[in-house]
């Protein structure tokens, strides 16, 4: 049943053309970056910036808009013998897969053409994880707000917090408590934000020399180990699962 619903969600997404525009944008940008730079390592740095910036933003905003726009569709399905949970999961995976595919095609193909490095592979992996995470958050933001404008507003706030304000706070903490040994604390703080976690996983490949200076060694030792990698993966998966499950819980009780 979910598979059938998935099919219609895919059809609808294709119809909306946004996914295609997103793919085209990523592809053009990545290709340009790699082509101009002639250097995949440097391209990965630029792509890292845009992927950490764009992927959460697009997933959140488009996810929210999509969820509201699907309201009618969901209502139609709900008059039929279809499980609410199936509808929700189909919406979630339909959108996450589409956006991930767009990301992989848009950013991944150019990288693949020029030779895939570990850092590039990690970039693609975290991009996909971030897509799932932020679609999950967008659905939560949508089900918590009846009003579309408020929902999008909340999504923008979530994005600002995760991509900007959180890091700003870390900087403030570092300044305010520069006398104290904060490495472990900062390590935990950054690990808790999926954007930061993704960023650091890639940095450990790209900027290991700079990172080795300070907390970096701590990070490398941790994420270089199996425990660390598993922890990172679990954290990212939790970030994808928990908001989504919370949204599902609200959705299951929602009145149409």
């Amino acid at each position: 049943m979910s598979v059938k619903i998935l099919k219609y969600i895919f059809l609808e997404l294709v119809r909306s053309k946004f996914i295609l525009i997103y793919t085209a944008f990523l592809f053009t940008f990545s290709f340009a970056v790699i082509y101009i730079g002639h250097d995949t390592a440097k391209a990965v740095v630029t792509l890292l910036n845009i992927s950490l910036f764009v992927v959460p933003l697009v997933s959140l905003i488009f996810g929210t808009i999509h969820f509201y726009n699907s309201g009618e569709y969901i209502q139609l399905l709900l008059t039929q013998p279809v499980n609410r949970r199936s509808i929700f999961l189909a919406e979630y995976f339909g959108l996450s897969f589409s956006l991930s595919a767009a990301f992989l095609a848009g950013a991944g193909l150019p990288l693949l053409i020029y030779g895939l490095s570990i850092s590039a592979a990690l970039l693609l992996f975290t991009g996909v994880m971030l897509t799932f995470i932020f679609v999950s958050l967008s659905f939560l933001s949508s089900v918590l707000n009846k009003d579309k404008v408020k929902g999008i507003g909340l999504s923008v706030i979530i994005w600002l917090v995760m991509s900007l304000i959180y890091d700003g706070l870390i900087l403030v903490i570092l300044f305010a408590f520069s006398e104290y040994p904060l490495e472990k604390f900062i390590l935990i703080l950054t690990t808790l934000n999926p954007v930061d976690l993704s960023r650091i996983l890639i940095l450990l490949q790209l900027d290991i020399s700079a990172l080795m200076g300070f907390t970096g060694a701590l990070f490398r030792d941790f994420f270089g180990s199996i425990t660390g990698m598993v922890t990172a993966l679990i954290l990212l998966l939790l970030w994808a699962a928990l908001p989504g499950l919370a949204a599902l819980k609200v959705f299951s009780k929602k009145n149409f």
């Binding site: 059938k4 009618e72 139609l76 008059t79 039929q80 013998p81 279809v82 609410r84 009145n255």
Partner: protein, 239 residues
């Protein structure tokens, strides 16, 4: 076939349904009337599972519907306002619902044909006129020849000819032994179609009577009778 027990629903602090107990049998058309905002649509949606009640129970075919969805295959539903996806073509809409309902293969195209929906099948649902939208929702509701029909103001936008077509269909369904629950503000609709009238007021059942009972008790038209009953209840309450 449909039974509710102490059904309660609040929107925020506002109580929309207060202890609704009702028992609807097959082969019967039940009319649901009541002032605007009295909770009629909310009640119908609760049965569909579109609205989740706060407490109380709903049984469809003797089974508690809580956390269930499969029972909806017995129900054809016409919403009060047709919120179907605007960017779907009419034919796609039918295709999708048929695709989803794998349990039924023999469709009832009577309304589809009589409403001449085929002529608009390439239009987007959003482009249809209000009446045509209602025709489409009606045709969808009857498409799977369901045992239960829940119709929320089904004639409100229909032209006179279409109204008659729909009414004939409803009566036919009743004689086929189906359960029909129809919400309407139109007294003629109710008097022509219904065997029984449930009157909701502020989320409570004010009265629940068979039509002959209502009319015989007062003499006069159904409308006048309803008005009298309400007045009587009100004055009783004041004493």
């Amino acid at each position: 076939m449909i039974r509710t027990e102490k059904l309660k629903k609040k929107y925020g602090r506002f109580e929309v349904l207060k202890d609704i107990d009702i028992n609807l049998a097959q082969g019967q058309v039940t009319g649901l009337m009541g002032p605007n905002g009295s909770g009629k649509s909310t009640f119908l949606k609760s049965i569909l599972g579109l609205v989740i009640p706060d407490s109380g129970k709903i049984f469809v075919k003797e089974k508690d519907i809580k956390n269930k969805f499969d029972y909806r295959k017995y129900i054809g539903y016409m919403p009060q306002t047709a919120n179907y996806p605007e960017n779907l073509k009419v034919k796609e809409l039918f295709k999708i619902v048929k695709d989803i309902r794998t349990d039924k293969k023999d469709y009832d195209y009577e309304l589809y044909e009589n409403f001449r929906i085929g002529e608009t099948e390439n239009k987007f649902f959003g482009q249809l006129s209000g009446g045509y939208k209602q025709r489409v929702t009606a045709a969808v509701a009857f498409l799977f020849d369901p045992e239960i029909l829940i119709l929320d103001e089904p004639t409100s936008s229909l032209d006179p000819v279409s109204v008659e077509i729909l009414k004939e269909k409803i009566i036919k369904s009743k004689t086929d032994g189906k359960l029909v629950l129809v919400c309407s503000h139109l007294v003629p609709d109710v008097s022509e179609l219904a065997d029984r009238l449930v009157y909701l007021l502020e989320g409570k059942i004010l009265f629940d009577k068979l039509i002959p009972e209502i009319v015989n008790g007062s003499g006069g038209t159904l409308g006048q009778s309803i008005k009298k009953i309400i007045e009587k209840i009100n004055s009783d309450n004041e004493c």
